[in-house]
Symmetry: C2
Subunit: 398 residues, 2 copies
């Protein structure tokens, strides 16, 4: 067991339960004799470079528990991929603080950051444990059955579309809901979790895993209108044409330092799709909403299972680090093979989750590429939990 | 006491608690000997014209209670202003069904519909009680301290902006949230209800009650960025320039049958404002979300006070109708002058609430026209209820 100080930070897009992981790690470390001081860096590696730290041993248990239940990254976040020079600067600071344990909570880009820092540390022969704690509402980390943050965001999406479907039922027409998800459709797919009756929406679900054709979309909407007299569409912000070009990329150019095109924080895709339906399907009442950042930060509706697993992922990272079996890795969630839902936390190599992402398995997408399958529903239900009950009249004709 | 059958319907935009009013009225009527059959018309007056009715006496108490807790209009809705010919057709149907009690749940346009039908019925000497039951998330009905539907939508907005403010705190930059409200800023103002600490957002609040100037907006954002290092803006979809032209009207032309321009179901205003901030304030990270229909239909987060008052508004309408003191009117909510929050339900003439709307009082808006006052917070807090607690670290520097 390596004795030394610990540094923890958060990176990438916030989630509703990312602070559960932070607090899980902090409390586990506070209980462990191998860990001395616990530094929280503000705004990820930017806070290390700028030497902006808070003392997480001085935070009260009450504050920690309250923060755990608060959405968004309590330490602040950043989107920054470290260069070789950044790593040199980071190590100067970490050595000065005698950091032997480094934990970074985030998605695939954050895992890449930890991987880069770990590789550079190995080269430098700087004995530091580098661990990645998983977080992404996109649910697209490799090696994981699912990822902390997903269940709660999926719960928001399922609730939102369930309510929106009732809204559409009252006033008719076509409603298009644009949902987060750059390359993976898991979050958009969650829109289907609110369905109870056969005519409940969403009637169409478009995922980045299947090429999006405007003609096919218009034909699908027309068919749904004929069948249901109305149509609710759940569509991923990341839908792309058959050449892999994101539909939204035709309208925006902004990219982050990892080279990703900005998809969220704009209503352009929804407005484009609504215009297409109005013009090409000749439907008068067409509305589009883009759920945006609410999906990852809405307070008070976190999935209980997701919150618990996020907490345990933080605990598992600290346990793995102090156990001394491996000096780096990423905590991954594996689903137990039992009938009753349960998970195991394992440690996988950083390179196994860094950078590249995973997609929805084919078994979760219907043949036509415009809906999810029951296999997806069965997969996602325990992650999201029960939804608020909604009812309709028996509608006995008078 | 007039003996006869009853017809009830819902109209205009749905809300999270409009079914509470419906169920309140139905249960009150079921208990009353003056009322025979209870017809529910599907999709408002359209359902009367099309003779699409369900028997609300045949719905079980369990179903009624479950529907009461379900967002959106369970009978379906419509936006249709009746013509003289429509009224003639409506009366033919109502006479055939021996309807003596007509209840219509909705906002100012719906009140206008009831007013028109009532005036025509008086001319025709058709003895029917016509009552309007208030509903609007915009909170803009005259004669009312506040309106059923507002508290729950305001709760959604307050939660959403509270979470979004935490999100912005993590990643920085400018975040613009576009909130429903055609002419009244009450719903946008609710964004301020989540503030606890002095630096909590929203840092700027723009309401339709004050002329919106792009230059003033950009200057405000720059000042907030200087003060807080980040900026969250809550802006009403209905903001208009000094000539009263809605900013969004420059981008869309669609109108409904009451002559209202479509404001919701598009992200255009948010995208426009984001573009302006990027270009004129030179800020790189600017995002905009348009909350859209989620504000009125999200399940599971209704304000308890709002749900109860919506229920009682339905009960009050039936009681007023069978009491025989007036044969028409609109139920209005008056706040008690007591220190402890409480309300009275009174009946006001239909013309007093029909068509025209009310606005935020001056006392609720700050002098600069870019925020709300404490008077608004005190007014709105009991309508919305307590929000999910959010916490931050003490941030003791290490």
């Amino acid at each position: 067991m390596k004795k030394g100080n610990m540094l923890i930070a958060q990176s990438g897009g916030p989630s509703m339960v990312i602070n559960q992981s932070l607090v899980g790690a902090v409390l586990a470390a506070r209980d462990n004799k191998a860990v001395g001081k616990i530094y929280g860096a503000l705004h990820g590696i930017q806070g290390i470079l700028d030497e902006q730290f808070i003392d997480l041993k001085k935070e009260s248990r009450t504050t920690l528990e309250a923060v755990a239940n608060t959405p968004s990254s309590a330490l602040g976040s950043v989107r920054r991929k470290p260069t070789h020079e950044d790593c040199q600067a980071i190590f100067r600071v970490l050595r000065k603080l005698e950091i032997r344990y480094f934990f970074y909570i985030g998605g695939n880009d954050s895992a890449e950051t930890v991987h880069i820092i770990n590789e550079e540390a190995v080269k430098e022969e700087y004995g530091i444990c580098c661990f990645h704690i998983p977080k992404t509402i996109d649910n697209d980390l490799r090696e994981n059955d699912h990822t902390p943050g997903y269940g709660s965001a999926a719960r928001f999406v399922a609730c939102a579309v369930k309510g929106d479907d009732l809204d559409n039922r009252a006033l008719g027409g076509v409603k298009i809901d644009v949902i987060m998800g750059r390359n993976a459709g898991f979050l958009t797919a969650a829109a289907a979790l609110g369905r109870v009756e056969k005519d409940d929406g969403p009637h169409l679900v478009y995922l980045p895993e299947r090429p999006f054709s405007v003609d096919g979309f218009v034909a699908d909407v027309k068919a749904a209108m004929k069948k249901f007299g109305r149509c609710v569409v759940a569509v991923s912000e990341g839908i792309a044409d058959k050449d892999g070009t994101p539909i939204i990329a035709k309208f925006t150019q902004e990219t982050d330092s990892h080279g990703n095109v900005q998809l969220s924080g704009t209503g352009a895709l929804g407005d484009l799709l609504a215009k297409v339906v109005k013009e090409q399907a000749g439907i008068k009442r067409v509305r589009a909403d883009t759920f945006g950042y609410l999906q990852r930060s809405f307070p008070g509706i976190a999935s209980p299972a997701d919150a618990m697993e996020a907490r345990l992922a933080g605990v598992a990272a600290v346990q793995a680090a102090v156990n001394d079996e491996v000096s780096s890795g990423s905590v991954a969630i594996k689903r137990k093979a039992t009938k009753k839902y349960g998970v195991d936390f394992v440690v996988v190599p950083l390179r196994a989750v860094a950078k590249e992402t995973r997609h929805m398995p084919d078994a979760f997408i219907n043949k036509a590429g415009n809906d999810v399958t029951q296999a997806f529903i069965d997969y996602a239900r325990p992650l999201v939990g029960g939804l608020p009950p909604c009812a309709r009249f028996a509608q006995l004709r008078a």
